[in-house]
């Protein structure tokens, strides 16, 4: 696999790594190869296709919400109105509208972003970037995808039952999400689907954590891992700790719905506690926000040095910042609940902890900006998407402080300002970051290049429209518009916002239409793309230096030994000796190699026995 210039010298002691991960023969049957596959690369593609399907579906729901805010009560044109709203002639009624925004949120978070970002790229990148032949538990990996698939079936089924799918908001607050507010079987199915997909996520999380701890190539210490792997690993830890809390809430809610318990029902109908559910939900829900952004921080933390051709600025600082955010994310959830009647002292503690998160966030931003400074920047498509992510995440992050502060949150809580803010971070940043990853690893996945011009058009249309759409939402919230209103202009104090909402909608449609460029590029590149070579971006990480495009079933013929960090660019010594601006992670400079193997630049600090 690796050509001779890579100069990966085999340690005698490295033999054990080859034996610990023996090469299994390729699966020979179609079913084991493409359907019930245990190969992390195939599972990554399965998650990718499933994620695309739900992204399209969730996106269509978003278009319907935007239509409703631009033209409340008017029939939705195109196939959306004709096919999905046949009964009403295309008009979205208030009950249907509730279903649409509820399912838009749930589908995008659990069935689109999660599989695309974590399912697809976690699976693809972790083994390839750390030099493993597969995940630690390949069969569990397969089960994770098929459990996820089953939950997806439940989601589609929920639209077919009487009274339609869930309608209590993505947050599923009881008592509205109990039979008092949403008596249909659709809501039950959706809560079951959340529980099921949570199990799938858990299987993935166990796998990612174990793989990173146990299967790093010899020589790859924690501080030689690409930041993408760090992001995925920390995400997996948050998933492992907090998805079970959501599952507990979902299970209790199912009992309230189906077995007559009243854990969360109070007032005229029971003596439970609705706020208990909110605690369970947000103990999970706030880490979830970081679950959806940590992998993206990993992507941009790698892409920016990769395409600035410069070492990542204060790599360890970025790692520490990501770890700090991971820890803090677990203790700030109360800012979602300032106005539920929370104890003032508790509220103020949550406010302080929330604001502290801006310190590691600032460290990350400073590191990205410093990395670009005095670099040699190549505005490739993945780099553009990474910079676009920094741009929208900057907007989203900075607007978060208004919501983490109690007194300003009095006014902004539950307004469109919140919606705009969290879409900039969870939707826009996750969307742009994940598309950057798609453009970046496409050559590795399919062995083909994607069209650059189409990619750049796709980027510019997406970044402009996505920014305007979510800033438009923030502006509406700034003027006081509440979330989730079927017709916001019933309120006279909001009537003058009709124009603002309509313009936001036009940009939303442009964002939706702009994705056609990606779809065209995707299929064109898969079927007729130019062949990509092993390392088209000229980078030093193992996925590019030691795996073919696409990689063989067992990834690496010989598991390489790692000597250096993932962003070794612009080293004058490398330039002099090798005539290029990058050094492979598993590469030693010729003089070092001649001098012997004992003085590798990085100490072997893997945890492997």
């Amino acid at each position: 696999m690796s050509d001779a210039t890579h100069g990966a010298q085999s340690h005698g002691s490295d033999e054990i790594y080859q034996h610990l991960q023996p090469i299994h023969p390729d699966p020979d049957s179609f079913i084991r190869k493409w359907i019930f596959s245990t190969d992390h690369k195939v599972i990554a593609k399965q998650f990718l296709w499933a994620g695309f399907t739900f992204l399209f579906f969730g996106g269509m729901l978003a278009m319907m919400i935007r239509w409703q805010w631009a033209y409340p009560g008017e029939a939705v044109p195109s196939f959306l109105g004709g096919v999905f709203l046949e009964d009403t002639g295309g008009v979205i009624g208030p009950a249907t509208y509730n279903t649409i925004f509820t399912m838009h949120g749930l589908i995008m978070i659990f069935w689109a972003i999660t599989p695309l970002m974590i399912g697809a790229f976690g699976n693809l990148c972790i083994p390839l970037m750390i030099g493993a032949r597969d995940m630690a538990f390949p069969t569990l990996n397969m089960l994770s995808f098929w459990t996820f698939f089953a939950s997806g079936i439940m989601i589609f089924a929920s639209f077919m039952v009487e009274l339609g799918s869930a309608a209590a908001g993505w947050t599923t607050y009881p008592p509205l999400s109990t039979n008092i507010g949403t008596p249909g079987f659709g809501q039950t199915l959706v809560v079951m689907a959340i529980f099921t997909t949570g199990s799938a996520t858990l299987m993935g999380a166990v796998n990612y954590i174990a793989t990173v701890i146990r299967l790093r190539a010899p020589g790859m210490g924690w501080m030689q891992m690409p930041l993408t792997v760090w992001g995925m690993w920390l995400t997996a830890i948050l998933n492992l700790l907090f998805v079970p809390v959501l599952a507990a809430g979902a299970a209790l809610l199912l009992m309230d719905r189906s077995f007559g318990t009243t854990f969360f029902i109070a007032g005229a109908n029971g003596n439970g506690d609705p706020i208990l559910f909110q605690h369970l939900f947000w103990i999970f829900g706030h880490p979830e926000v970081y679950i959806l952004i940590l992998p993206v921080w990993g992507f941009i933390g790698d892409f920016i040095p990769f395409f600035s051709r410069k070492p990542a600025y204060w790599y360890k600082g970025s790692v520490y910042a990501m770890i700090l955010v991971t820890v803090l994310s677990a203790v700030v959830y109360g800012h979602h609940m300032f106005w539920t009647g929370m104890n003032p002292l508790l509220g103020q503690s949550f406010m302080l902890l929330t604001l502290v998160i801006s310190v590691p966030a600032e460290m990350l931003f400073l590191n990205w900006l410093h990395t670009m400074w005095k670099g040699s920047i190549r505005l490739t498509v993945p780099m553009l998407f990474a910079l676009g992510t920094v741009f929208v995440f900057g907007l989203g992050g900075l607007t978060g402080i208004f919501l983490g502060t109690i007194s300003t949150d009095i006014y902004l809580h539950d307004t469109m300002f919140v919606v705009g803010h969290f879409h900039l971070t969870m939707a826009a940043a996750a969307f742009l970051g994940t598309f950057g990853a798609i453009y970046f690893w496409f050559p590795k996945m399919f062995g083909k290049k994607m069209n650059v011009s189409l990619g750049k058009y796709h980027f510019w249309i997406s970044v402009v429209t996505i920014t305007v759409v979510f800033c438009g939402q923030m502006a509406a919230g700034y003027a006081g518009q509440q979330r989730r209103l079927w017709d916001p202009f019933q309120y006279t104090f909001l009537a003058h916002l009709a124009d603002l909402n309509r313009w936001t909608t036009y940009f939303g449609f442009a964002l939706g239409l702009g994705q056609v460029l990606f779809v065209v590029n995707w299929f064109k590149s898969i079927f007729a793309g130019e062949k990509a070579d092993e390392n088209p971006w000229e980078l030093g990480t193992l996925d590019w230096t030691h795996a073919s495009s696409p990689p063989v079933h067992h990834n690496f013929d010989v598991i390489p030994r790692v000597y250096t960090g993932p962003h070794e660019f612009a080293n004058p010594e490398v330039k002099r000796l090798l005539g290029r601006d990058w050094l492979g992670q598993a590469e030693q400079l010729p003089t070092d190699a001649a001098a012997g193997t004992g003085d590798a630049p990085m100490a072997d600090s893997t945890g492997d026995a």
Partner: protein
């Protein structure tokens, strides 16, 4: 506390001066609704204390704009001038002075921007929004002229309101002339609240069915109404304000959430006194012991959660 606040405010003021031209400066004074520019303007503020929230949002917005502009200029500058024709510097950015610079920069931004938010927010909450003692005796001492304890008839004393949210309406209850809740002279209204200008209004909130949120955009007030709990908030309309404002529901509460809209009339103290007197007498005359559905009030919970 005071000194710290002044220092912070001075820094904030300097920052604000630098960035004034970059944003529409919605004033502290009440202004007409309707205009929206880069950022839409707040709804007209008719409360005595809402400026605290507006000011904090606007000042922080200035910081945010400055930081965002710095970030963008930095990024675009690098893309433009440090492009592929520029030779990359071999620098891992982990030298001692790099680390110190990054930490100091992060700390400075944190202490100025977040510190300003934190300090002002806590001061505002302690002094006003969570200060129910202030609401009860607005000048710091009980006033003999308020008459009977809890009496809502004298505009200089706090008006007490019990609000019960249900799908999809706001039920509200005044104590009536006797100042006691759950008595025959309670005044009950639906989606149509009346409060006197200038007086503190203390609201205790409950809900029958699902969670709602009581939202007064023009008074910068908001609180969840949760089944099984009694939450509270208080607000005060300016002395000179009269007119009708809207009550909204801010928490998704089912199919007709969008229609859960009420009216809040702000009237003069004399008009309020006349209205509550008349309504309370009418209520006593029409009181029906057997109409249990109308007896949803509770005895005023002193320790309602804030």
């Amino acid at each position: 506390m005071k000194v710290k606040q002044w220092i912070l405010n001075a820094i904030v003021g300097l920052g604000a001066l630098c960035a004034l031209p970059t944003m529409g400066w919605a004033a502290v004074e009440p202004e007409a609704e309707g205009a929206w520019g880069l950022f839409a303007s707040f709804p007209r503020d008719v409360s005595v204390d809402g400026w605290r929230i507006d000011w904090l949002i606007e000042v922080t917005m200035v910081f945010v704009v400055i930081l965002f502009v710095v970030m963008c200029v930095w990024m675009f500058w690098a893309c433009f001038f440090h492009n592929e024709d520029h030779e990359a510097e071999y620098d891992h950015g982990d030298a001692h002075h790099h680390v110190v610079t990054a930490l100091v920069l992060s700390a400075v931004i944190f202490f100025i921007m977040d510190g300003n938010l934190l300090v002002n927010s806590i001061v505002d909450l302690d002094e006003v929004f969570w200060n129910f003692e202030l609401a009860e005796k607005i000048e710091g001492a009980p006033r003999p002229e308020c008459g009977a304890e809890n009496s809502p008839t004298d505009g200089t004393c706090a008006v007490r309101l019990e609000v019960n949210a249900r799908q999809w309406a706001w039920q509200a209850r005044y104590a009536g002339l006797d100042g006691e809740f759950n008595t025959p002279d309670d005044v009950e209204v639906l989606n149509d609240l009346v409060v006197p200008a200038g007086s503190p209004v203390i609201v205790q909130l409950a809900a029958t069915d699902v969670i709602h949120a009581f939202y007064l955009p023009n008074l910068r007030a908001k609180m969840d109404a949760v089944p099984g709990m009694i939450n509270r908030l208080w607000f005060r309309a300016r002395d000179e304000v009269r007119g009708d404002y809207e009550i909204g529901c801010a928490q998704h509460c089912g199919t007709h959430h969008y229609k859960m809209r009420g009216k809040l009339s702000i009237v003069s103290q004399e008009d309020f006194k006349a209205w509550i007197g008349e309504a309370s007498r009418t209520a006593s005359q029409g009181y029906d012991v057997n109409d249990v559905n109308n007896h949803w009030g509770w005895s005023w919970a002193r320790g309602g959660k804030g």
